[in-house]
């Protein structure tokens, strides 16, 4: 990314006596995973463009504990959660945006019971709002007219009933959008959830991400759109397993919007 991103930290803001409107929760994947970092930056570019008053926790952010919780380690989850809550409450955080549906889910639903009460937005919801307020304008993009499909992340869709926001964003792109047979409420998992991302799958006759990629391939896509860093990895691997990586891209909705924005 050529242009310099403005990524203030909460600590800097506090030193300047400012209280940013939003905390951008980057998440472990968004901070460390090479593919996810690109999504993080695409999203920050949009935040900068729309002049959103936000900050990140930077090195004061720690893993949300989601994967530990789904793996069954409630201790580790609650330690992570309480550590993060302590930091966020210290900065008097009110509103959070994140690009990771897993962190979105745990911050929104599971942190309140441990003393962390915030308004939490997934980036698809937030971008939709920015567009409807006219703070981001979607122009012609190189993707216009392309065949695309959308994979619902379990923790965004079924788990939290966010189906409409990503679709509304896709609509602004002027692409040729086709739903997969299994979509929205009956969408099929990419295979990463429940801490599966971090382990080998159990014995079976196929990998879940390959099955899901086959669902996507039925729509004959040029781009498979996701809204989760883990789905992105799984679908990218699935496309590779099908040897289609030369013809099919796997992209986050934020990247497409960032690309189409003027």
């Amino acid at each position: 990314m050529s242009e310099q991103l403005k990524v203030p930290t909460m600590q800097e803001a506090m030193a300047e006596g400012r209280q940013p409107d939003y905390l951008f929760w980057v998440g472990s994947a968004g901070a460390f995973d090479d593919r996810a970092k690109k999504i993080t930056k695409a999203f920050v570019k949009l935040l900068n463009k729309a002049n959103v008053d936000f900050a990140v926790l930077g090195i004061e952010e720690s893993d949300s504990g989601d994967a530990a919780k789904r793996a069954g380690n409630e201790f580790l989850f609650q330690m992570q959660a309480m550590t993060n809550i302590e930091v966020m409450n210290m900065y008097q955080v009110k509103k959070i945006i994140t690009t990771d549906p897993h962190d979105f889910n745990t911050l929104k639903n599971e942190y309140p019971g441990l003393g962390g009460n915030y308004e939490v937005y997934h980036h698809t919801q937030f971008l939709k709002q920015l567009i409807s307020e006219g703070r981001i304008k979607v122009k012609e993009s190189e993707f216009k007219g392309k065949n695309v499909t959308f994979h619902d992340p379990c923790y965004l869709g079924r788990a939290n009933d966010v189906f409409e926001a990503p679709r509304a964003l896709i609509e602004t792109l002027g692409v040729n959008f086709k739903e997969m047979k299994r979509s929205q409420r009956t969408s099929l998992c990419c295979g990463a959830g429940g801490a599966q991302m971090f382990k080998e799958p159990e014995k079976g006759d196929k990998d879940i991400n390959v099955l899901r990629t086959e669902d996507a391939l039925e729509t004959n896509p040029e781009v498979i759109i996701t809204a989760c860093p883990f789905c992105n990895t799984m679908m990218t691997d699935g496309v590779k397993a099908k040897e289609k990586e030369d013809n099919i891209q796997v992209m986050d909705i934020a990247e497409l919007i960032a690309d189409a924005e003027d």
Partner: protein, 435 residues
Amino acid sequence: MSFIPNILFALALIAGVGFFAKNVKKLMRNIKLGQDVDVSDKKSERWRNMAMIALGQSKMVKRPIAGFLHVIVYVGFIIINIEVLEIIIDGLFGTHRIFSSIGSLYGVLIGSFEILAVLVLVSVIVFWIRRNIIKIKRFWKSEMTAWPKNDANYILYFEMVLMTLFLVMNATDIPFQNMDSGNVISQFIAPWFSSLPETTLHIIERSAWWLHILGILVFLNYLYYSKHLHILLAFPNTYYGSVKPKGQFSNLESVTKEVKMMMDPNVDPFAAPPEGAENAVPAKFGASDVQDLNWVQLLNAYTCTECGRCTSECPANLTGKKLSPRKIMMDTRDRLEEVGKNIDANNGEFKEDGKQLLDDYITREELWACTSCNACVEACPVSIDPLSIIMDMRRYLVMEQSAAPVELNNMMTNIENNGAPWPYNQMDRLNWKNE
């Protein structure tokens, strides 16, 4: 001696209802073996769920063919049971068709029962064909052998016989046929019997009447042993089902207390625990047996209809893994039944039997194959949550036995040491900004 049938009837009724009541008591006792859980919130939403999902069958019709047929059988079942009321009164007091005195409305009622009976008969036959001839995949998974498979078919035969008896009973009832009102279907069956003498007809009518009501009493008592318990339990189960976002898992309170103590700098870790604190600490984190689950999860297990909608949407099962959310529910019920029988056999005390839900019923391989995607929860037509049981059992494996797969242990060690699931340095968390 003309009152002998009345007495026999009363005895049959008392026996049938009595056994049923006994089974219901056992059922409630078993469900109460589960841990307490607070379900007192959002009452109106819970009532609405019950009205929509159990009464309104809103989830059933997501699969239109099965849903439509099921609605017919369900409506037929409820409405035709009005007729049972008349049978009971007739049986006890020796009357014949006591409600017929209400006039033409009676004809309308019985007429609609007859039509429903035919519709139910047809639906049940289609169900049988789907199961046994078309062999729809979800009915032929590995957990659907022996009893579960037979159970499903027995009920279908039961319904077929009951509906046939009802129609034959009407067709051979000469006074009813002579009324010529309400015999919409049975008038076409009556000619098949018309060559028989009146006394024979009467015997057939009485036999059909008796078999019909005895059949219903047997059916009532069969429920407890069958997946057909759902016709009763679907109602409480949809009421007590989760009203939280599906992604929200419970935060274990017992853990919260300990973590708070650990993180509080003012707490002296070596101080003696305050009075009563010992009892407050639970014996166990997570679940390895049915008594560790909460009672709603146990109610779930009894409510499961074994329809397999959950399993047919489960990504792990679809890709050949051992995990089947339906099997999780069936195993939980089987183990709970076993525990219940153990308690019955030992004067109300559970005697250690060297078995548990984990390993003896549900294997670790199944538990670790779950992606926590909630597809099973979404698919279930009666608000069952197999995922919560899987999670509670994982909690036991990890927190009580440290028995997570190696890669997951690595992931968790990383989180503990450097705040990320991968071995990166916490201090590098913002490096992406300048890359």
